[in-house]
Symmetry: C2
Subunit: 333 residues, 2 copies
DNA sequence: CCCTATTATGCTCGAAGTGAGTATAAGATA
DNA sequence: TATCTTATACTCACTTCGAGCATAATAGGG
């Protein structure tokens, strides 16, 4: 940290002599940068994520000088793979913890992760890579058929044990409070957005495989979903959380839909992402009053009952959208 | 891009032979990483940002191997400077465009920016660095006294010119549409969250100094606020936008407040950040119904009229907060 | 001491938004 | 044709939210 404070003083102009010294880029430690993609599609009502290495890792690769920018690098790359323009990319988070890779290397790797959305049909075309339901990794996150049994039968009791095994009272209370908030226990409601908090809590409580890696003791109590290499599962959790938040205030779901769809299909996609069921009639009202879609004039009777009107996304809204999510009591004066 | 596609195939397990090759970290191009801080305080009803180099740059410094993580590195560093724990840090964005630094260097610099919030009184103590109203850099962003004159008198006409100077009709329409949305022209409402879009639009229209740097022609039409080195002003815009969004759904304003405050002081802080006035009575209602504060029992008459009750932030809410901002028609079944 | 300016605080009202449910329509299929 | 299934329209109670009115409690000037 000594270095830092020197740099600070330098940068604040206290010592412009020394500045030139540290400004020489070659004296900095070499750092490598990786790009990691959380690529999402919705296939058969399941939210899928693109994986590699037998579904144990997210696609990732080094960031090279040849790339114009982080985003364009990722974009070019993904487009080559899927053979179509990627509709939506968004930066997720940058990680750089020293022991990220788990190895003994002293070289530092910075991982810049992105969230990408793609269409179901286009997703199918790339057979090289494996699409996998993200609930394979987070089985406790799917509440579409009610709270999953793993929650009450496994996770809740284990978390209780973990809380109780703390030495002091305060820690016990703190642990249980965090757990009950994150998982909606003790009659607190389930909040589908807390994906990352939940995963990190399970990690802290050593209830996911990733948490046991350093240790020798085969504490083999591990449970809770398929794991991934390094911290890829955490990155996936970050992506899911971001997406679950975002579908509520930006029309991003449409990036996952085919050009033409019924309102129920749209609803199913939202439900797949949120891991929750929504009220059908109110969902329609919400979509229509925002002018997000327009009728194509066609209908489909593939749905079983009464034929459903087909809709397409009104791309114009993206231009109109002054979607201000105001929660402040603003003054119009 | 050829490299990328190879890497992809390798990573997807198509060619594990080649994998070992590219996995050697030393073969990667050296990349340097910088940390950049947008440190915000509210001083005298003005939202201030910590700057260096005669207010022309944000504090920044290299990320070193000695740092445990990005966040802890930044935190340690800031704490050393301000002499107190930093209440709130949040990662903003990671930039890596090739010509970020504007130089001819081939070395790539990745900049990881953070948003930090600190208290007014504590901010004052660090005299080394300069606090500066962020409206010095974005004069068009302060609408507390109504729409600033620069908007209608300078920016709107200039943006109109810029739109009209496009060759084809479609571009003209597109430019003006984007401008009018971003700046709330043509009776579209002003949206205080569009800070970054506005700055980037001005950049694109070459109405900020930063946009003219590459060019020799002293197109000296430049206007619109104090500039900063490199892309620091863009990073600042990113930070402001993030903060303006966040104060609406997370109680982060309190990080900027002294331990005890009146509701009007709190309101003024929010207004300073949002650049907008809020309805006083409704603001109180909003704060109180969320149980964000509790009375200290004391009052102060420093305010001019009737003495105001003093409040403190209820830290307990941070634990309780199941603040789900649901916009989905959820089913309770 | 009263009047006035100033800020604080309480309360009401109407419009819009939202959760939940009822009712009806339009196909497929037995 | 009866029944099942999904689609779609409409209602209703309740909450939220923008806006404004009214009252309270000080300071300061005449």
């Amino acid at each position: 940290m000594r270095i830092w404070s020197r740099v600070w003083e330098i940068r604040t102009g206290q010592d412009s002599q020394a500045m030139k010294e540290t400004e020489r880029p070659h004296e900095r430690h070499a750092i490598a940068a990786d790009l990691i993609a959380v690529l999402v599609a919705v296939t058969n009502g399941q939210p899928s994520v693109l994986t590699i290495q037998q579904a144990s890792a997210l696609p990732s690769g080094p960031f090279e000088l040849s790339h114009r920018s982080l985003q364009s690098g990722l974009r070019d790359w993904v487009e080559q793979q899927t053979g179509h323009p990627l509709g939506y990319i968004e930066q997720l988070y940058t990680f750089a913890d020293r022991d990220r890779t788990g190895g003994e290397r002293t070289q530092r790797v910075i991982s810049i992760s992105y969230l990408g959305l793609t269409r179901e049909d286009q997703a199918d075309s790339s057979k090289k890579s494996g699409w996998r339901s993200w609930y394979d990794y987070f089985p406790w996150e799917d509440h579409r058929a009610g709270p999953p049994s793993i929650l009450s039968e496994v996770l809740a009791p284990r978390l209780r044990l973990w809380a109780d095994e703390a030495d002091d009272m305060e820690t016990r209370r703190d642990r249980w409070q965090r757990a009950s908030i994150a998982f909606g226990l003790d009659d607190r409601g389930w909040n589908e957005e807390f994906v990352l908090q939940r995963y990190e809590l399970l990690f802290e409580a050593a209830l996911v495989e990733e948490a046991l890696r350093g240790r020798k003791s085969s504490n083999a109590q591990l449970i809770a979903g398929r794991s991934m290499i390094a911290d890829h599962r955490r990155i996936l959790a970050t992506g899911i959380a971001r997406l679950r938040t975002k579908i509520k205030y930006r029309p991003v779901v449409f990036e996952l839909m085919p050009p033409v769809f019924t309102l129920l299909q749209l609803q199913r996609a939202v439900e797949a992402l949120a891991g929750l069921l929504v009220h059908k009639q109110n969902f329609r009202r919400l979509i229509e009053q925002q002018d997000l879609v327009e009728e194509t004039g066609e209908t489909t009777s593939d749905t079983g009952g009464r034929p459903a009107k087909l809709f397409r996304f009104r791309h114009a809204v993206l231009a109109e959208q002054t979607v201000a999510g105001t929660k402040l009591p603003l003054s119009r004066a």
